[in-house]
Amino acid sequence: MTAIDVLSVYAVPQRRAGRLRSALADRLPLIAILLVQCALAYRLANTAFEDEALYAYAGHRELGHLLHGTPVGDTYAGFFSGIPMLYPVVAAVLDDAFGLEGVRAFSLLMMLGATALLWTTTRRLYGKPAAVIGSTLFATSAPTLFLGRLATYDAPSILLLALALWWTVRTAHRSPVLVMVAALPLVLACGVKYASGLYLPTVVLSAVLTVPAAGLSWPRGLLRGFLLAAATGGSAAIGLAVAGPDVRAGLSQTTVNRAAGAEPLVNIVRLSLVWGGWVFVLALVGVGFLLHRRRPWAPALLGALLAGTALLATIYQAHLGTSVSLHKHIGFGLLFAAPVAGAGLAGLSGLPAFRGARPLLRRAVPGVAVGTCGVLAFYAGHAAGPMYEGWPDSSGLVSAMRPLVHPGQDRYLVEEDEVPRYYLRDQSQPQQWLNTYFFQYGDASGHQLTDLPAYRAAIADRYFTLIVLDDGPTAALDKELTTTLRAPGSGYRLLATLPTETSHGEQDFTVWQRG
């Protein structure tokens, strides 16, 4: 062994350590952003939201069916807006191991992953300053913070979309066939949450535009787009065929042919502006910088595509006439708009908006970006808080019900039964829980009743062991039921009134017990 060989033994690890240090130093802004995202997300605290409780509970039932063959007890596929065998099962496994906080931590991990993927995607498209700013804008936005603390299938869907987008950008210079790999996360994203399909065209068009934007030929880009579209379409078709009629019915009912609401357009636009408006505005600025470049149109088209994607949720919900879940869906659009917004704000700060760009200012003022991100993060924190406090803290209710709930023949009528049913799942069966959305009851004469008459007849027959009302989504029905319960001889007594507070105001749980 020569002296040079000896030295090289030591030299290699040193180089590796140096590379690691350098890589870490290079990604320090990302690490800082992820830490801030974690810290801001963990400021949000509440008991389970009804969707969280529903998905985790459904996952437990599906898991029980898979492992032990126990009946599921409900056709979740028929009304879930994602395949029940995907996210809910993962959530149930995590719930068994770590509880609800564990499932929420999984969501946060997904959103952190999305931020990291957005960083690397933006860096490839527009350079490091845009990556730092774009990731910060996404990580600290209200929908991102909210979804990072919500155990629903939105977070994994966003991660899968981010993964697909990153891959299409990552492989822009490589063989067009490689882009087909992105079909897997895309189809999976759509399976986890059907509404993710709204963003498939963006990813496919990105696969096309990233090629000419990188200075390569348009036909090559078009080929990539065709390959990705074909692979995604084929996989989705196979997936739908395998999934069965229940899933297709659920897809139709919850997403494709969802019942229209009557929410005014102004409200939907206003809420969209509050939750993602500034990122969209900055993305438009980014498009302006790209247009100013006066090079082939592809980079500007790609920027406009990504920026315009931020509008999809608003347009879709305006078409449906509802703002339900808008705050979550805005987050999907931000994933695409944030890179261009990063470029826009970088340009406004005098930093290069993209590689080779001429700065707007003679001397860079990164403080503009720092201040803007700080202000937007401040307001995002203020917007995410009321979102997360939009449902009542159910800990008092669950504590009050715990000694009264037993497996067997008892029936529990609870306005939003998903939450106590989830928390008390070890001491009750699914069929024991009923809610105020729909109820069918056969009276003594054998007539099948529905809605208010059914509830009244059941109360007269003292069918329910416990009744919990909270003037929530079925407040009008609650009022009628309360009158019935208060009437002398109803057979029920008011056990407790449990005051809670949400961002919409005070809300009381009233618990009635069969006398």
Binding site: D26, P29, G367, V368, G371, T372, V375, L376
Partner: protein
Amino acid sequence: MATVVETVLDEERPDPTSAPAAPDPRGRLARLLASRPDLVITALLVATVVLVQGLNIDNFPTVSDDEGTYLAQAWAIQHGKGLAHYSYWYDHPPLGWVQIAALSWIPALLWHGPLVVMHARVIMLPVSAAGTALVYLVARRIDLPRWAAALAAVVFGLSPLSVTMQREIYLDNFAAVWMLAAFACALSPRRHLWHHIAAGLCAAVAVLSKETMLIAAPALVMAVWRGTDKATRKFSLVGFAIAFATIGAQYLLYAVLKGELFPGPGHNSLIGALQYQLGRGGSGDILKSGSVSNLTLHWWLVRDPLLIYVGTAASLAALAVRRLREIAVAAVLLVAVAMRPNGYLPAMYVIQVIPFFALAIAGTADACVRGLLRLRLGAIGRLGWLGLGRWRLGPRDLVAVLAIGLAGLVAPQWEAGDETADTAYSNNEYVAAANWIRANVPDPAHRRIVVDDAMWLDTVKDGFQPGLGAIWFYKVDLDPAVTRTLPHGWRDLDYVVLTSIIRQDPNGLPTVRAAIAHSTTVATFGSGQQQITIQKVDHSGSGQ
């Protein structure tokens, strides 16, 4: 020696060594911005302020009795009926509503429907535009950079309190603009004698528009002192004083010529009015909870707490900055007068303070920025530890962060306030009542209707006899010329339009109170505080 012809030819002959001038590659706007940046910035600011203040100007805020009074007095001038729609009693110098009369062709051009007052507010847009431009000009003349001058104009024109008050037909708006013009002339960089004379003229017009503007006069004298060269200061000060006194004396002269300088039986007088104004009950201590002044302050704070708090603090701080001192003195004097115990503090008083607050805020911000830019951040600013080795944070970044942070905190509040001003409908009840009277009161030429001044012009337009048929409610009991025509008291009245203004103030008006007590409600519009009812007086003596 070269001849004249040779010289001229040489001048005209192009230099063969120099290349032909390349066309300027910049666009027209860029060239204009480069050559006249202040003009472009001012135009943009004025356009923005006019847009925000002009939107929904007729519907918010609720029309006030004072607006109607000034407009009715302007109507009297236009129709050759004297200086007021009733006897002019020297309540204010008349130049304010003379200006309103001069501008009244603007709403007449645009609109002819019900409720004259709310649509006449469009008169105030050129006044606001002039005010915004003058604030920018004064800011530049006290050595503020463009961004600070623009900030002053934005505070002046876009604060929710400004948007609310500056769109109302108040004399204070005219006075404030003339006082700003006086400051602009006094601080003219050319230091020309005529500019200082113009400052005196403008100041006199300001005071004759609203007499309380006199409070800022010491600050203006300081500005003239600063704006003059030591060598010509005496001439400038004398010119300023003579101009001010010459115009100001016209008011006195008017009273003397009319024989109304001193109090006497059977006529109003300037000194009598002054005695009344000085002797009338104040509105209480501004800091004492429950006083009328305190309620007024509370109302200002509801519209924009930032302008009031930050403006007061900035005015005090600006006293310490030499180039801001005149502005600070004006603001502090106006604040001190507002805070005097048991003084009279009307809601519109704040209009006179707003321009000086705006300038003090912008000036203080500029002083802070200058201080921050001198800071050395050293190692703190290096971003190498964040993997951003190429960039470093300097004092400019600190300023940027602070500026964006403050803007981020203020802008949403202002946006909310201005959105209310631009979308709320506060005059629906008045419009409905005016329409009802037009459609349902027969033979108006021979009817007597008691209204507040916000509706007075409408009733005149409907055919009621000005003054004695359409009667401003105060005049029923307080003007002998009107009282003489009501020998049977309330029985001589036909209708009372009961608005919140009349409901607040019937105690000193026994005839109005009796008419209301002996009347029946024939129409009701709205509910709560804003409710308006049309009361038909029952001449037989019954009522509800």
